[in-house]
């Protein structure tokens, strides 16, 4: 036996539309999700090798100075390596911070402010790092 009951009206959650990030931005979030995994694997290799060379092996930081960097960047391989690491790290870290702000920002206005500010800092860091890597000359 079946009884026709009107569907129960659930109250609209107070948080709906307030704390969630905007939806319907195409496939951006999917691409961001894939990017985090691909860049993550690459960064594990790039960063752990970088840290081992600069901080652990053969005295670590105590041998690092201008002459040491000149020797490394005399080889274009290390400039490309450092540029790839910088670019992936800024995109990976910037996107990670964007997701965290999406989770914790309490209003759309604050989300915009925090995400804009972090995008500017990440962007400027990338520009500064890129200029450093490619305008460096051993003479100074």
């Amino acid at each position: 036996m079946s009884v026709d009951l009107p569907p129960t009206q659930l109250p609209r959650p107070a948080a709906a539309g307030r704390r969630q990030p905007r939806m319907g931005k195409g496939n951006f979030e999917l691409y961001a999700w894939v990017f985090m995994r691909v860049s993550g694997v690459l960064l594990v290799l790039l960063v752990l090798s970088h840290f081992a060379i600069m901080h652990v092996l053969d005295g670590g930081l105590s041998r690092v100075n201008f002459a040491f960097v000149s020797g490394r960047w005399a080889n274009p391989f290390w400039r490309v390596y450092d540029f790839a690491m910088l670019t992936l790290a800024m995109l990976h870290g910037g996107n990670g911070l964007r997701v965290i702000i999406d989770d914790y920002a309490r209003t759309a206005y604050r989300r915009l402010v925090y995400q804009s500010l972090s995008a500017v800092v990440v962007g400027l860091t990338w520009v500064l790092g890129t200029l450093t890597i490619f305008t460096f000359t051993p003479e100074g």
Binding site: G40, L48, G129, G140
Partner: protein, 126 residues
Amino acid sequence: MQRLGTLYRGREGMWTWVLHRVSGVAILFYLFAHVADQALLVVSPEAYNRVIATYRNPFVGLLEIGLAVLIIFHALNGLRIILFDFWSKGVARQRQMLYVQTVLFLLLAVPPTIAIGSKVIEDLRR
């Protein structure tokens, strides 16, 4: 009866999730400073060498070990997250994977701790 401490009583999974966020943000903020100090390479050799020389002390050495630990945790935990997503048995075996991750973390943390820690001890004795 279990005590209701917080609303969501996550276990290892929740805490590694928290640590992944905290370590990620900490590494990113370190990188802002790191890129800024490396920019001294295009200012002058003297400026770069002077700043790098200030890093040779026990306090910065301890921060350096902390950075190594954060990077190793974030790297291994990130690889475990990828295994959840792309390995069919990843989610079912997440706790076993965490044990493997912990062992690898301890193994990988040994070389930087010894290499940097020995300099910290050496500088403290001087």
